[in-house]
Subunit: 123 residues, 2 copies
Amino acid sequence: MDPDAVAKAFVEHYYRTFDNNRAELGNLYQEGSMLTFEGAKTQGSQAIVAKLAGLPFQQCLHNISTVDCQPSGPGGGMLVFVSGSLQLAGEQHALKFSQMFHLIPTPQGSFYVLNDIFRLNYA
Amino acid sequence: MDPDAVAKAFVEHYYRTFDNNRAELGNLYQEGSMLTFEGAKTQGSQAIVAKLAGLPFQQCLHNISTVDCQPSGPGGGMLVFVSGSLQLAGEQHALKFSQMFHLIPTPQGSFYVLNDIFRLNYA
């Protein structure tokens, strides 16, 4: 499968899950996974999901503007770079964000997220 | 050395070089290096420098807002995620951007850029 198509499918799956049920994102991370969310560092699937589930909003909707991807080295990993906007329930203006994921192949032929860095882009 | 300090030093060096003499950036890339600049893909040190040197502005100044970094796996690599703004000579408004670098250690104890993805954040 074309890497750009894989990246796009991952991104669609990730944000659909985030917007519908953040707790299910745990399946995408493993124990060595790292999240840096607005500068705050978290490690491990359980802690990452706790961080994401505890963000101070209930409903949100991600709109994706761009998805770029590159192979990350000989191990078959993939870097995915996303820009988009995030609409929070009850807020008038959407927030711009950028996020990168480092995806690592699993023995089952899928990917997990080793690295995840998220930043809002303040206007 | 602390990874955050290494990332910050790299980022300062990278943008200082970019703003002073883009042609010198070639030392930071190798043949396998990849650049995706606003969705356009380029590979290899020489092609990447040609792309950067050929951007349609002469003078620019990067201002860095945030630098996040994470180790990228067992090989000693490092992911660096930058947000900031870019002031072009003669333009009234600075442009917001986000950029990520995947740095790989060299035998000489330094790093080179394997992956580089750049996006402007349109308001």
